[in-house]
Symmetry: C2
Subunit: 314 residues, 2 copies
């Protein structure tokens, strides 16, 4: 049984589990588990890992329109290195501070693979869900998309093992080493995103549906479509592609494809009635870009079908 | 750096991290990560695993005197088996229901080892901490101790692999198989504990310090001693040893040692002023047994030093 089938089983048992976070009274709660091999490319610092892991949970609170209150993390590793542990905790604390939340610690645990489970919570008296998009609403995204795709490409270029798998960089020239360090630094920077908690709160009174773009824009649209029983007509040239994507792709078309499908960006994807768009844009301090319109059915980009995972454009 | 040293590093960075849970405004939050190899002996059902993992976090809320509100779990496994997943979720839901909390789902994640990260939260306007025990207070425990120690012994007896490591039970007699099934069933039953949320709330107005016994009675006393800067004089014969312990140990002395040192019982250990003891006992629906007295320094049992980990009596 794959993850989707498993989610369907859980939905039958627990009720709807499709939103970014659970809501209990006025409390928003969300939890995620991340692993070194699947979520943190070689070269990711523990500071970035702490920031990103906790940030991902804060983003889920943001997507419900909640004010993030606090986060905890369970940190598991084969051994506890003081510098790594402190770096992780500082990354976690800093991302919390950025959104007005508090990092309140967690659990330490011996485990063969570096694994982090984060939980964030917050409050809202009117959670925004994935259902609610209505035909005619504009679909908008916050900030720019593609930072994580660009980060991954840079991690890849600077990968810690040489092609012979030796991990021995001693024979490399100084220029190579400098380039590698610069690529890693930039990759880490791009990998640390700003959870859109402020934007989420600002959009909450205006948005008819909302989620974060952690699984990619294409998949987000498919998930909103399923929850709201609607379609989307997206205009490719309006998609706010992050400049960093162009640094790491050959063509504009490749950049767009990567931006739409890669995900892990943690921007907000919200549907907003046309009449509320201006007020919504005025209320947010980050750019809010309309990229298309809610339609009755089918998800298209420039009139062509936009598939759930991959992106195939004309 | 071992876990204790790592905790000291975190304490320097984040402030006190010694309590069972963090408190943010009137919210109590706690998180734990558990693994198949270290926390779930072979033979533990997924129902028991769900119950126990979520129950451990609920117990941390109870230890602060909080009313548990809800819990989430991140569930990681090599593959998602429908029956196992449902059993886990039902165990998690049932233990929440038992204490008036709600299980609100979580995250699914592919991982080579069955791993669960649970987070529980609740509310309290007057959290009870580990510091606060005063000389002359009585130290009490809820319920009985030693259930988990007995459970582990039974899991061990019924262990799924034969001595030759084959895991092949086909040659065993029907009697053997029946005995094994009965031992496993009893072990699972003993392993599912009642989180003491109700007792924690009832004791909160009376207790000067409180924690749960998850690391064993001996270690709990050492932890309370460190946080409250006090000692304890414990009377061995008053310790409420669970009947199940005697089923699995040869002598009464061995039973007592196991009960005091093994831990994983999730009963509450609370210090209560002598004058409040009667009211505290009347307020709880579970037995509340005084086992000793708070003294200025040193932790003793029947006058002999009680060491932090092992138990050496007479």
């Amino acid at each position: 049984m794959d993850e989707r089938a498993a989610l369907a089983v859980l939905e039958d048992e627990l009720g709807p589990v499709g939103d970014d976070a659970a809501v209990v009274d006025d409390l928003v709660v969300t939890t995620d588990m991340l692993h070194e091999t699947t979520d943190f490319p070689p070269g990711t610092t523990r500071y970035t890992a702490g920031w990103r892991a906790v940030g991902a949970s804060l983003s889920d609170v943001a997507a419900m329109g909640g004010q993030a209150t606090a986060a905890v993390a369970a940190y598991a590793a084969p051994e506890f290195d003081e510098e790594e542990l402190l770096a992780f905790v500082r990354g976690a604390s800093d991302v919390c501070e950025r959104v007005g939340a508090e990092y309140v610690g967690g659990d330490l645990d011996g485990h063969e693979e570096f694994t982090v489970a984060t939980t964030a919570f917050g409050t809202t008296d009117a959670p925004v869900r994935r259902s609610g998009a209505a035909v005619g609403d504009r679909v908008c995204v916050t900030g720019t998309l593609g930072r994580s795709a660009a980060a991954l490409e840079l991690f890849d270029r600077a990968k810690l093992e040489r092609d012979d798998g030796s991990g021995d960089w001693s024979g490399s020239t100084e220029t190579d080493a400098n380039e590698r360090d610069a690529a890693l630094e930039r990759a880490n920077e791009l990998f640390r995103f700003e959870p859109r908690v402020g934007a989420g709160r600002a959009l909450a009174p205006h948005a008819s549906a909302m989620m974060d773009s952690s699984d990619g824009l294409a998949r987000s649209l498919h998930q909103l479509s399923e929850a709201s029983d609607c379609g989307f007509a997206v205009d490719a040239e309006t998609i706010p592609v992050d400049d960093a994507v162009f640094e790491t792709t050959e063509t504009d078309e490749a950049a767009l494809e990567r931006t739409i499908t890669f995900g892990e960006d943690f921007e907000l994807v919200a549907t907003i009635p046309e009449t509320a768009l201006e007020a919504a844009q005025a209320a947010t301090t980050v750019p809010l870009t309309p990229i298309g319109t809610v339609v009755e059915s089918d998800i298209t980009i420039d009139g062509e079908p936009l598939s759930d995972r991959g992106y195939t454009h004309g």
